[in-house]
Symmetry: C2
Subunit: 359 residues, 2 copies
Amino acid sequence: MSAFPLPPGSVIGILGGGQLGRMLAQAAARLGFDVAVLEREHDAPAGRVAAHAIEGAYDDPAALKSLADVSDVVTFEFENVPAASVAKLAELGAQVAPGPRALAVAQDRFEEKTFLNANGAPTVAFAPADSPEAAVEAVARIGAPALMKTRREGYDGKGQRWVEHASDAARAFAELGGRPVIVEAPAEFVRELSVIAARGRDGATAVYPLAENHHEHGILRRSLAPAHASPALTEQAERIARRILQGLDYVGVIGIELFELKDGRLLVNEIAPRVHNTGHWTQDGCEVDQFEQHIRAVAGWPLGPTAATARVEMLNLLGDEVDGWKRFAAEPETRIHLYGKRDAKPGRKMGHVNKVKPL
Amino acid sequence: MSAFPLPPGSVIGILGGGQLGRMLAQAAARLGFDVAVLEREHDAPAGRVAAHAIEGAYDDPAALKSLADVSDVVTFEFENVPAASVAKLAELGAQVAPGPRALAVAQDRFEEKTFLNANGAPTVAFAPADSPEAAVEAVARIGAPALMKTRREGYDGKGQRWVEHASDAARAFAELGGRPVIVEAPAEFVRELSVIAARGRDGATAVYPLAENHHEHGILRRSLAPAHASPALTEQAERIARRILQGLDYVGVIGIELFELKDGRLLVNEIAPRVHNTGHWTQDGCEVDQFEQHIRAVAGWPLGPTAATARVEMLNLLGDEVDGWKRFAAEPETRIHLYGKRDAKPGRKMGHVNKVKPL
């Protein structure tokens, strides 16, 4: 068993070889750690900046053993880590952070909203359904129009359907594959916000300023941070974040997506038990960014400061938008973060830029 | 031949696997480049954060060929790259930046000072000597006490002797190995300063604010930046930097060590054709740090902004001072940069911290 805080020279294991793993790996190296990445594909973005790249499926026992053997702590870049893999890592003696409870909650939209409401983090009204009949009943109870989502998986707007009338509920249920779903009341929000927060092994918490987020076709396009927000709104977001962190006995960085309602209340849309796209602004707008913060937390180090040092507009570069690198490179206010992905498929997150202004 | 600017996905080759190579590799990856490192030792700091680690001597033809084959441009982290290696790389079709002229000038203290004076960058008085008799004569000409240094190699105060009287010159010459030397008049400086500057492939130049440096036993302990400096002093430093960059037809980042005299004049102590320890403050005090700036320059990208965004005290962590990581991690104003070196030998540069304050 590793003793925390982990000294420099220890190995941080990361499940997942994408851009979040890559930026975590870079932050870890800056603090003097070595990094081991378990990635499904050869030549993935994270493995190319890590001391150890292990190739294998996320539920491959041999790959998990290689990762556990070399790592002093194991973390992940995505929330859909199979529960069995986490159990396997624990069985192999690996310290995994965040823990299985955070994953279980974040992997199931019904569990998630149930947890949130039980911990003083309000959400829209919701009801689960696991049959066409139950789906009809759930929509009738929540009221149409309603949003039907698969309980598990689904991201960037995938795995969900609008149901305009209760009579459409059975068809929507079938279209979503006949899998267990959750029916949600629509949120009549005025803005989408998010808050990135962290909790250390000592139970200390740290919350970054709010970001205002704009999506297109379910994919994040841009974040503005710190978002214009009243002290009351900020205080509300911080309170929600701390309740969630404590309720999950969390270790690491968490991303919390919020809806701001007309009356100033915040509802939690969803939580992601990992570093988050809406927190990329912290790389150029805070002294300690979300990636270093996550590494500090899982390594048992004290959390770093979260105050903004600049105002940032973060733009995701999707697909061939990355070809704009030449223009971005010529803009003095623009900081460039590219992920080294080989193939600029449409809609694929290839990089992001942070446009920085003084506070 | 590579076409500049190099697009993301190109490979930056780096000769040298130490901390400067490591931080260059990290900056390159952030811009979407892959990195290949040629390092003499297995498991060196830079190779552990690079896509390709090639092991071999810096003059090993096979290793140089591996590096040239994979790289779109080759740069280096230290100035004592054998001239024959650079010639070999060029013969293999590799683009090397900075070029051989900068290396030739920086590798020989006599060539260096001759170049500087010829390009309007003043230095102390100096004279070369390649025999005991010539050494005596040189000290007589410059006046004792004088500093005798080997023309080639020597760093961090190694390879030099104070000569108190002309009659001691022959002994000092022998103690320095009987190799060609340069005899320098002492600089009666009030401060040691340095300036980090860059020149792009398009000839554009960019100069960072001055840093004030404090050495102990010939090794840099701390830098304060931006140094308190009058506009006239800043203007003088910038003029010197631009003359050197243009005189060398330079591409990349250069470190220029300066003496500030009582009368406000600046003399150049030495130049390093690479990123420089006294520029580490830019990582947390500027939007584009010296490492990204160097990658931008050698890749043919436009240079980034160099204005300071914070006031920084940079402290080198030598030997077991790196064991203070726990204390540094708990200081909100302290940004930590550790190099992943396995063995904390006395005096070895293991990392640095930047203590950051608002401007």
